[in-house]
């Protein structure tokens, strides 16, 4: 077969194998692999085993690797026979994650989060389930692309190493250690990750800039027990008052974060990049309308894309304390708690941000309040190169598939592993993802357009072919 015949056959197999692909993805989606909740640890292990089995079935040497937390799935495919393809072929490390976010609030789901459904939407059928796109759908699209190559040609055209973890949604506490311990095994030419968005349903994208994150829980304890607000109110520390007073001071009137040193190392967007983003014609009003809002927020005088892609944030992700039931209870709670995270941009140091936060809190802690900070991982923002042969192959694959060149964009989210792949393994990463902004990841009714899933599988198949032809 010629290279062209082969990719034609691979794509044909993907097109005719959609029922099989969907059944495969639904199997994985039915496993509630919520990494944040200890009760779901067995489900995380089950999802890992599922991947071990599926990739082994198409010629990968796979393994389930224990960690102090949830297991990591590794795999290795040695490439086609060197005799027929040349001495070396490109070696790609594919990273993904099988864990998902908690599904609450459950009552807002239209169907149970771990009972995947095909639902008709404006772009045709879509899959509704927790993890539909983030990241199970993306990983299974890659699996299906490999599978189609394997079935159509008897082998995959390049060398592939798999690294699929189960703790991405909780900050990946064990991944860096694993990568550092297994540097030789994880050696490759380039990393590939599918965990980002397209520009829109018709326009592919490669993400070249990611925000990092620092995530903490703040626990404030005051009186040793809950108190009657009549008997004590006005004369003793109220932990909820104290916590809201501290956290309510996080931003100034113009939306800047007031933590000391927070903006150290944050650069303005270079004019060329700003112009490129401006040219994208991002529709802020439509973005806001999609979430029921008509006005933006955040730092005064900056564009929405700049705020999302190139500016750091301080967002409270949860807060709780005292009486939260129906009606009135006149209690002064003994404790108050909050979860707080910062999105970081390239140049910011997570340690500096944490140190600044500690200083910020200490400066505002009233007498009698005992505050502790629990840290849930931190990682810097990352920028990846926008040129090179691998990036060119990815751009060409997406262009072939979608009939237009991908947008090179920033991303407001964090994929900490991108920084680790660079610092620990020396690898640059191609971030080629197929989600849409309205996929409701981390929210009720997360979905993945079937059209995007198919585009993902076909694009990965094309990319494998282009990389195989690079030798």
């Amino acid at each position: 077969m010629t290279a062209e015949d082969r990719i034609t056959e691979v794509l044909r197999r993907l097109d005719t194998g959609q029922d099989d692909a969907r059944a495969r993805l639904f199997e994985l989606l039915r496993i509630p692999s919520i990494s944040a909740q200890p009760a779901h640890a067995p489900d995380c292990a089950a999802a890992a085993r599922w991947l071990v089995h599926e990739f082994a079935a198409i010629g990968f040497e796979t393994a389930l690797r224990e960690t102090p937390g949830h297991p990591i799935v590794t795999g290795y495919y040695p490439g086609p026979d060197p005799a027929t393809t040349g001495a070396t072929v490109p070696h790609v490390l594919f990273y993904g994650h099988y864990d998902v976010q908690p599904a609450d609030p459950l009552e807002l789901w239209t169907s149970p989060p771990f009972e995947p459904q095909m639902v008709e939407g404006p772009h045709g059928p879509r899959i509704v389930a927790r993890g539909a796109v983030d990241d199970k759908g993306e990983v299974v699209a890659f699996l299906c692309a490999c599978r189609a190559w394997y079935l159509a040609t008897g082998s995959l055209p390049i060398r592939i190493t798999l690294l699929i973890e189960g703790e991405e949604e909780i900050g990946g506490p064990n991944l860096d250690h694993f990568m550092a311990e297994h540097r030789a095994e994880l050696k490759a030419d380039i990393a590939l990750i599918s965990d980002t968005n397209m520009w829109d349903i018709a326009t592919p994208a490669i993400t070249t800039q990611l925000r990092g994150m620092v995530y903490v829980q703040i626990d404030l304890v005051g009186p040793s027990r809950d108190l009657h607000s009549g008997s004590y109110g006005g004369a003793v520390l109220n932990p909820i008052n104290a916590l809201t007073r501290i956290l309510g001071d996080l931003h100034d009137a113009e939306g800047h974060v007031k933590i000391p040193g927070f903006y150290d190392g944050v650069a303005e967007v270079p004019p060329a990049q700003a112009a490129q983003w401006e040219a994208l014609g991002f529709d802020e009003a439509a973005m806001l309308a999609g979430i029921g809002l008509s006005v933006g927020a955040g730092e005064l005088g900056r564009s929405a894309l700049e705020k999302l892609w190139a500016r750091p944030t301080a967002d409270l992700n949860g807060i709780w304390g005292g009486y939260t039931g129906i009606g009135a209870k006149t209690v002064i709670a003994s404790e108050a708690h909050a979860k707080l995270s910062f999105r970081l941009v390239p140049g910011q140091n997570p340690e500096t941000v944490l140190a600044g936060l500690r200083e910020f809190i200490t400066d505002r802690t009233p007498p009698g309040a005992r505050i502790t900070l629990q840290e849930f991982g931190g990682n810097p923002g990352v920028a990846v190169p926008t040129e090179g042969p691998f990036m060119s192959a990815a751009i060409a694959a997406l262009t072939d598939e979608f009939g237009k060149a991908p947008v090179l964009m920033g991303c407001g989210g964090s994929i900490p592993v991108v920084g680790s792949l660079k610092s620990l393994l020396g690898l640059d990463t191609i971030l080629m993802g197929f989600g849409l902004e309205d996929d409701q990841i981390h929210s009720p009714n997360e979905k993945f357009e079937w059209r995007c899933f198919e585009g993902a599988a076909r694009s990965h198949a094309r990319l494998l072919g282009k990389l195989g032809a690079m030798t």
Copy 2:
């Protein structure tokens, strides 16, 4: 029998009837009459029926009166035969409440909140249960005093009207209407309430000043759904950020409440009263040590008793929103909520405080946030006369029982009915209660010292005797 013989016999009956009294109180404590929680409505009705039955058994005409919420128990005892005691006898309206606070957090109770226990403490045995003192224990002490009179002498020495509600802990939404509708039936000479504290275990007290309250729930809605903090953070309204920013601004650096007009009508404590309170030698350090604190809080430059009895407050009683489970979830919640209450002092108008709060919130509501206020009742602070024949009788009864005169004190808590009794029925109130500061009302492990319960029953019995002798 002489008057002296009669009270001696009544007190003897109380002393020998302690097992019976305890069994009676335990019956009532086992009914989980939590007024705030709709699921417990049948329990509220059961507690009301229990009282109807118990007071009927000692000669009261009792009735269970339906309201739009939980029922009110009324009762009437016409007094002894006029032929033997003179044309008229004093007429006392006894007010109490059978409802209790929610019991959460359940895990902090040493025994189940609705399975009362006798536990040995530093002052002898104590009853541990939700409602042990607030207000079931106090009501049953009065019941036992009446019962002892009835059994010892065949009748009660005065006329008594009962008014025992089931919505005190939720702001009594239906009581005022009931009182206004039944003015004639509730006519009396003086009101008597047992729902306050002693000065200490050896020193009785009559409360002459109470704080009022305004209680609201604040609901802030932003985006129409939960969002991924990476995809949206920095460019859209975060409801938890917004709510903490508003509520964190409630106080200035010196502890004053910043709501416009909040201090309108708040008077300084008259020098004579301030001197009297000063002379009480209140041990602020001991109060703080009892709740695990070593420093006070609140308005700068004011004494603890002044802050507790004569200064208004703004306390957050609960707050919630976003992810509150284990670990990290990078969500921007769609909504955030808080419960906020204000303790008011005489002179403050609840409507003015509410209007000021609305203005305060409106001034700080960021674009895109929709805020609603749910009100859970409001009532002004109250001061009651410290002189007159009824007050003299109460002081004498307590002095006889405890061997020392009662302290005339303020109270940081709210008993809204005191204001209503005055405004709707023209009645002054004697607040003669037997709780202790460390009774942990509204907290886990609420307790009532048995010694205080006995002192309560015996003091009520003495007061009935003194009032009966007033004719």
